[in-house]
């Protein structure tokens, strides 16, 4: 089955479709991880996006029962150079083709993904349409141009829980986790450290959070533009000084907004598992897992907040810390999955802070 991707700039890539058929639109982004496609596919932060993998051979180790980061795949499309039809790994249960078909995700293989990546790097992320039903270049480009931009889409509600629920992990601490599309591994990392996790919906108010009597609050990752979730920033602000707060990714951006800062869209974002981040407090550099298209503007932050981490490659803000309050965040993913566990120490810090601030 043939498939095609059209970009808003008029470029069309024709290849072979796999997974589900149909048509979908989204923001086209690239991820440079050489492993971890299963986690990428099920990371809710990719909601609204068509993801292309820069590594050409995808699906080599199949899809297993364990490495899901959420219940389903939220990507709007998945583009690879070659989708492996005969995976090999002791945990493999499905081929990537079978998994995407089951998830209703359109896959496109057989295109020059490096060419696509270079285009996105050069011109920035673009809207695109992926189709197996309409292969007319003109029509597809037109559809891409008419598709909605990422900002303004209500993506967080699409991927987050509407009802609070508890994931027990021991009674050392209780953590309220704002779910903006949380990856499972955030919960696992907290559970592994003996924390019960109360997952609350993105719209939860400060009062609701406090009603669970938590020891700390975590703000999860999630899709889209943080300014679309400005309501959460208001709730979070009310929690300052009352509870330790730790934000990750979208959670970090929301924290930036709660501090009164601004966020802006990056040209093509950071998506991969090899980004060097320097911890400005201890001077060490960590290789970290990234997935974000927006960033906090350092100049917009109030004096009581300082930049604690920066990206060595482009100097962007990777971490924030309040000078007096136990409130901090990172733009990247200490929970890894996919990626390195170099930054997992941040969970330990959070635990420590909760211990210090706690009852």
């Amino acid at each position: 089955m043939k498939g095609a991707l059209a970009l808003e700039d008029g470029t069309v890539y024709e290849g072979l479709a796999f997974g589900a058929g149909g048509e979908n639109w989204g923001e086209v982004v690239f991820n440079t991880g050489m492993t971890g496609y299963q986690e990428v596919l099920t990371d809710p932060s990719y909601c609204g996006q068509i993801v292309t993998m820069t590594y050409p051979l995808i699906g080599n180790y199949g899809v297993n029962d364990e490495d899901f980061e959420s219940l389903r795949s939220f990507v709007r499309g998945f583009i690879v150079r070659e989708a492996c039809g005969t995976p090999s790994n002791w945990r493999s249960r499905f081929s990537i083709d079978a998994y995407l078909a089951q998830q209703g995700v359109i896959g496109l293989a057989g295109i020059d993904t490096r060419s696509l990546t270079r285009r996105l790097r050069h011109y920035g992320t673009m809207r695109g349409v992926l189709s197996t039903t309409d292969l007319s270049p003109e029509s597809l480009v037109e559809k891409a141009r008419n598709s909605p931009v990422l900002t303004g889409q209500a993506l967080v509600p699409e991927v987050s829980t509407q009802q609070p629920f508890v994931v027990p992990g021991g009674n050392r601490y209780r953590v309220a986790l704002f779910d903006f599309g949380a990856k499972r591994n955030i919960i696992r990392c907290l559970n592994n450290r003996g924390c019960d996790v109360v997952v609350v919906p993105p719209h939860a108010t400060a009062a609701e959070v406090l009603s669970y009597d938590p020891d700390g609050v975590m703000l999860s990752n999630g899709p889209g533009d943080p300014t679309d979730v400005i309501y959460a920033a208001d709730s979070v602000r009310e929690l300052f000084g009352r509870l330790p707060v730790f934000g990750i990714c979208l959670g970090h951006q929301i924290l930036g907004l709660a501090f009164g800062g601004r966020t802006y869209k990056l040209k093509f974002g950071h998506r991969g598992v090899n980004h060097p981040v320097k911890d400005l407090v201890n001077g060490r550099v960590y290789i970290t897992s990234h997935n974000h298209g927006f960033s906090v503007d350092a100049d917009s932050l109030p004096p009581e907040v300082f930049v604690s981490h920066i990206n060595i490659n482009d100097g962007t803000v990777e971490g924030l810390r309040h000078r007096h309050l136990p409130v901090f965040s990172v733009q990247y993913h200490p929970e890894a999955a996919p990626g390195t566990n170099d930054a997992e120490y941040l969970f330990d810090e959070f635990i420590e802070v909760m211990g210090r601030e706690g009852r």
């Binding site: 050489m34 050409p56 991969g272 980004h275 060097p276 999955a337």
Partner: protein, 1076 residues
């Protein structure tokens, strides 16, 4: 933490000669390190005994010492130079071992030098199995059950405890020398005995065998501030049990999920931190195929073959960064030279697949045991890059230059099914091809995986190639489907194979491709999967849509490299290619290099203006030429690999620069060459081509025995041979040569005399001869295996004059532009006879360049570009003789190749070379022999067993050795001959004469030196072979040429006079007296 200001002068230890287990990768690492240190403003001192390296060029370090890599000599240099720091981690195992020995001998403390890079304690921790195990257990990293033993009894009891099979690994050796997998008690005794002998600390590790598990490696870097990164990981095609140097390796790993990838990455970081390595480190793991269980197998706390591969595979310059870390810089302070924008503190992302394929010497050593195990056997490797695994694999296969251009091995087609199954079960150099054959016969992937333990992922890829080939098979149709063709190119099948399968001509396939626009594009290796814009001009081909390599602008020339390191074509040709590139750039011409050897300096991304990492075969080379449209192609520096490409490149319409293809052909074609020398009146040994056994006999009778016989079609590895009589000739022709009208045999009079070798540079008119080299071994021993001496010590001026005259006239007659190499034998009446003319760079060029100071490649490159030699200030004729004497000594890797005869002959066997240099000949010879690893027993027992024709000549040599205090033991015939000259000899039994015989004596350790010359026949069952092999395996020096023995006697005498031998840097060879 900027670089340390207390360091002003740093000494780097190189790795010495190329041997199996230690190839060009350390020249690459050392060169990068020296440049990286100089870049930081440090004064750099280098010691390395290998003259064929770039790192020993006078401009690489402020002081370059080409001296023996022994503690004694390194200490001499340390005392003379008094550097602030010593960097041993870039010189392979040799460097590390030297650091340990220097420390143990108290020299590090004595001279007050600081060991840079990785602390000594770390080296000990990684190298000493016991300490290593304890350290890993402390940090909770799993190691296979194992124990250290230093005697056979303990080995037996420990193995019983662990359970067979067990892996035997000797401590402190190169390339796993003397190791192996023992399946039972008998094998254990054999392997442990050998291993104990090879371990410099007489220790062997016995280890639980995890054969069949996945083997995965990580390249890790750490700086002094504890920042760690992994440069890349690699997965072996062959499961555990095969030395990683002998495995087909793919980067990045393919069958590991992110969980597994990160599991081992996390372990790697934990280990490098626990070790405290500052610089690069290689960690090998065994990973279970059905759980998350893994074991740490090995850690190399230094740059290694794998790190060179990882550097080329990712674009991340590990050695360069390691050197900077050693002098105090942090990873986040070092720029990523590839992007020019980002820093060295990141992990490369690949958007292509890399395949490394080992190059084994089994084409030269047909009788060698081809089974692969823990003892490395390959001499070199190739690397290939593709956007599909299949493409990378097939590019790698054709880069090997073993006559294969697809996965079809003709011999495999003749095997019975049972043989196929047997061959799948064991690891050997041809298993990949046997697997392809099995798939063609309908074996399932699962069945093959079951037999071989090769992961089904790899087998599925082989199947994809086999299936694509099937899709092309349309016998007689002469047509080909577009989709099938496109698929075939994407998976990397060459036109030649496609044509063969589709029943078309190669030209038709090319035409079809051109009509449909199916030509490769070139993609960049940029360390970051296109995330950042990169500046490096490092490219590979792919059948994709977007080309990223706009044609180089301005004047541009393509230089063809020399491919993998193999016997007969070593690092020297990389030296030549690199110098050619530099000379072109000096001339203001852009240099574009094509090569496929990941170990080399030529494939470093900043050597040429542009690097294409591609197979050196016509199709791939011509594709690049079509794209670049250079003004010409240089073929004379890349060894036979590049020369072989001259014809097809010219036929494709491109210009060969320098000596023309036609003139090259005159030098190589027997008949054309004969008529040329006749015309010039230059004598050459009489002989001729024979097209049948009878004709060969007739030629031999005409010229007289002995004759040198060279078949053009070789059976069983016995190529050239010296034949002494009619019977032997017939026997040889029957068993070793296939003679037919298509495959003539060359029969030449064998002239028994001194061999002389000359390298010359010609601009078409003037011919500069930097020097005449004289071989210690007489003609009949391959020039690459001979000890060569510059300047000649025994030739009189008349002979030299005549050689200069012949060389000049031959160069002019052949219209040589660039280099040529001529070998002569000095016959009766002091008459030189020309043996061979090679209109290209030879393996002696780097050695001669260094000892004479003549920039041979620069001059040759200028001549190729049309400049006159005189323009560079050199006059024609023989260059003035230097006061320094350079002795080039070959180095062999016999200990690693079981079943290979060590005797010297017309077929080359050495893997590398060293140079000894001094103002005194004996001292230079001593240094050369010492560097080559010769040991000079101070007395003890000499075993002599020589062929009848050598008996007379042997007497004087043995008498001298007896005079030096050796007790003489000889076989009956030899003993008789010696006694008749009044030498006291004890007779010893030959093998078939019962016990105790020669081999028993060797085993008992009561022989210290063996002198054995070859009797007819080279089959392993013969006595001489067994004696020589036993000696080599037990590490007893075994000399097979009387000339070599004489040279060694000279050295022994020099050494016994207790001479104080000075050291001097290359920079002082050509100026005044060396400071003492």
């Amino acid at each position: 933490m900027p670089r340390r200001n207390d360091l002003k002068k740093v000494m780097v230890i190189g790795s010495g000669p190329i041997i199996i287990g230690q190839a060009a990768e350390f020249d690459y690492a050392g060169t990068q390190a020296c440049r990286s240190l100089k870049e930081e403003g440090l004064e750099v001192v280098l010691i390395n005994s290998n003259p064929a390296t770039i790192m020993t060029d006078a401009n690489m370090a402020d002081k370059v010492y080409i001296e023996p890599l022994t503690p004694e000599f390194v200490a001499k240099v340390l005392r003379r130079e008094r550097p602030d720091g010593l960097l041993p981690t870039l010189g392979g195992q040799v460097g590390l071992n030297l650091a340990l020995e220097l420390s143990d001998a108290g020299i590090i403390d004595e001279v007050g030098v600081e060991l840079l890079g990785t602390p000594l304690a770390t080296i000990k921790k990684a190298e000493d199995r016991e300490l290593f195990k304890a350290m890993l257990q402390e940090i909770g990293e799993p190691v296979p059950q194992s124990g250290i033993i230093s005697n056979l009894e303990d080995a037996v009891s420990l193995s019983a405890e662990i359970g067979f099979p067990v892996v035997v690994r000797p401590a402190y050796t190169l390339g796993g020398t003397g190791g192996g997998v023992a399946r039972d008690g008998t094998e254990l005794v054999d392997i442990v005995t050998r291993g104990l002998k090879h371990s410099i600390i007489h220790q062997v590790l016995i280890e639980q065998c995890v054969a069949g598990w996945k083997e995965v490696e990580y390249e890790v870097m750490r700086d002094g501030a504890d920042n760690c990164i992994t440069v890349c990981n690699m997965e072996n095609f062959d499961p555990m049990g095969v030395h990683t140097g002998d495995s087909i390796v793919v980067a990045p790993s393919q069958t590991l999920s992110d969980k597994e990838y990160q599991l081992l990455r996390t372990a790697s970081l934990k280990i490098i931190r626990a070790l405290g390595v500052q610089g690069g480190c290689n960690i090998q793991f065994a990973l279970d195929t059905a759980s998350f269980r893994y074991y740490v197998i090995e850690v190399n706390p230094r740059v290694s073959r794998s790190s060179a591969l990882a550097s080329k595979a990712t674009g991340y310059p590990i050695a360069k960064v390691a050197a900077k870390i050693a002098i105090g810089l942090r990873l986040d302070e070092i720029r990523n030279a590839v992007t020019g924008k980002t820093y060295a503190c990141f992990e490369p992302a690949l958007d292509y697949v890399v395949v490394k394929f080992p190059r084994w010497p089994f084409d030269k050593f047909a009788l060698a045991n081809r089974a692969l195990g823990t003892q490395m056997k390959s001499t070199g490797e190739v690397m290939a890059i593709g956007r599909t695994f299949e493409q990378a694999l097939l590019k790698a296969v054709r880069s090997l230059e073993i006559g294969l251009y697809s996965l079809t091995l003709p011999e495999a087609g003749k095997l019975q099914d049972e043989e196929i199954e047997q061959k799948l079960a064991g690891a050997h150099d041809e298993r990949l091809f046997v697997a392809a054959e099995a798939l063609r016969r309908g074996y399932t992937v699962e069945r093959i995986a079951g037999l071989s333990n090769i992961d089904v992922w790899f087998l599925e890829k082989i199947k994809s190639i086999v299936d694509a080939e099937d899709g092309l098979r349309q016998p007689g149709s002469g047509e080909i489907g577009l989709a099938a063709l496109e698929n075939a190119k994407r998976i990397g099948l060459p036109d030649k194979r496609i044509a063969e399968l589709a029943g078309m001509s190669e030209k038709d396939v090319l035409q079809k491709r051109e009509e449909t626009g199916m030509s490769p594009v070139y993609k960049m290796v940029d360390t970051c999967a296109a995330e950042f814009e990169a500046e490096t001009p490092y490219y590979y081909s792919a059948y994709e849509t977007e080309d990223e390599a706009p044609r180089e602008s301005g004047r541009r020339v393509v230089v063809l490299g020399s491919g993998p390191i193999r016997i007969g074509q070593g690092i020297e040709f990389d030296y030549c290619s690199v110098h050619c590139v530099w000379a072109l750039r000096q001339e203001g011409v852009k240099a574009i290099i094509i090569n496929n050897n990941p170990e080399t300096v030529s494939t470093d991304f900043d050597t040429a203006d542009r690097l294409y990492f591609e197979p050196l075969v016509p199709e791939d080379v011509i594709n690049i030429l079509r794209k670049e449209q250079p003004e010409g192609v240089v073929v004379q520096f890349g060894g036979q690999t590049a020369i072989n490409l001259a014809k097809p490149v010219e036929a494709a319409g491109f210009r060969i620069l320098g000596t023309s293809v036609d003139d090259i052909d005159t030098a190589e074609d027997r008949e054309r060459f004969d008529s040329l020398v006749e015309e010039l009146g230059i004598p050459r040994p009489a002989g001729g081509a024979a097209y049948s056994v009878n004709e060969a006999a007739a030629v031999a009778r005409r010229v007289g025995f002995p004759v040198l016989v060279r078949p053009s079609y070789v059976l069983g590895g016995r190529a050239m041979e010296i034949v002494y009589n009619q019977d032997d000739l017939v026997e040889y022709m029957r068993s070793a040569a296939r003679v037919s009208p298509e495959h003539p045999v060359l029969v030449d009079k064998y002239i028994f005399g001194k061999e002389v070798e000359v390298d010359g540079i010609s601009d078409g008119t003037d011919v500069l001869i930097p020097g005449i080299m004289e071989h210690v071994e007489r003609a009949g021993v391959h020039s690459g295996d001979s000890i060569a001496v510059y300047p000649s010590q025994t030739l009189n001026p008349q002979i030299e004059e005549r050689i200069v005259d012949y060389t000049t006239r031959l160069a002019r007659a052949l219209r040589v532009h660039g280099l040529l190499n001529i070998q002569y034998v000095i016959g009766p009446n002091n008459q030189p006879y020309v043996l061979e003319v090679n209109p290209r760079a030879s393996r002696t060029v780097p050695y001669l360049s260094k000892i004479t100071g003549v920039p041979m490649i620069t001059l040759a490159t200028r001549a190729i570009m049309g400049r006159r030699i005189a323009d560079s200030g050199y006059s024609p004729g023989l260059y003035r003789k230097m006061s320094y004497i350079g002795v080039k000594v070959p180095v062999f890797s016999f200990a690693k190749l079981l079943d290979v005869d060590v005797s010297l002959g017309p077929e080359m066997k050495s893997t590398g070379e060293v140079m000894g240099s001094d103002r005194d000949y004996a001292a230079a010879l001593y240094k050369g022999c010492l560097s080559a690893g010769y040991t000079f027993p101070q007395g003890g027992t000499l075993l002599v067993t020589v062929s009848d024709r050598d008996k007379e000549e042997t007497v004087a040599i043995v008498r001298e050795l007896a005079g030096l205090g050796f007790r003489i033991v000889a076989t009956t015939g030899t003993a008789k001959a010696l006694r008749s000259h009044g030498i006291r000899v004890q007779a010893v039994k030959k093998l078939h004469e019962g016990s105790p015989n020669i081999v028993d004596l060797l085993r008992a350790g009561s022989i210290n030196l063996v002198l054995n010359t070859l009797t007819r026949g080279k089959m392993p069952e013969r006595e001489g072979f067994r004696i020589r092999r036993t000696a080599v395996e037990l590490g007893v020096p075994c000399i097979t040429s009387l000339d070599t023995m004489r040279a060694i006697v000279q050295v022994m005498k020099a050494k016994m006079r207790g001479e104080l031998i000075p050291v001097a840097p290359l920079q002082e060879y050509h100026f005044g007296e060396a400071k003492a």
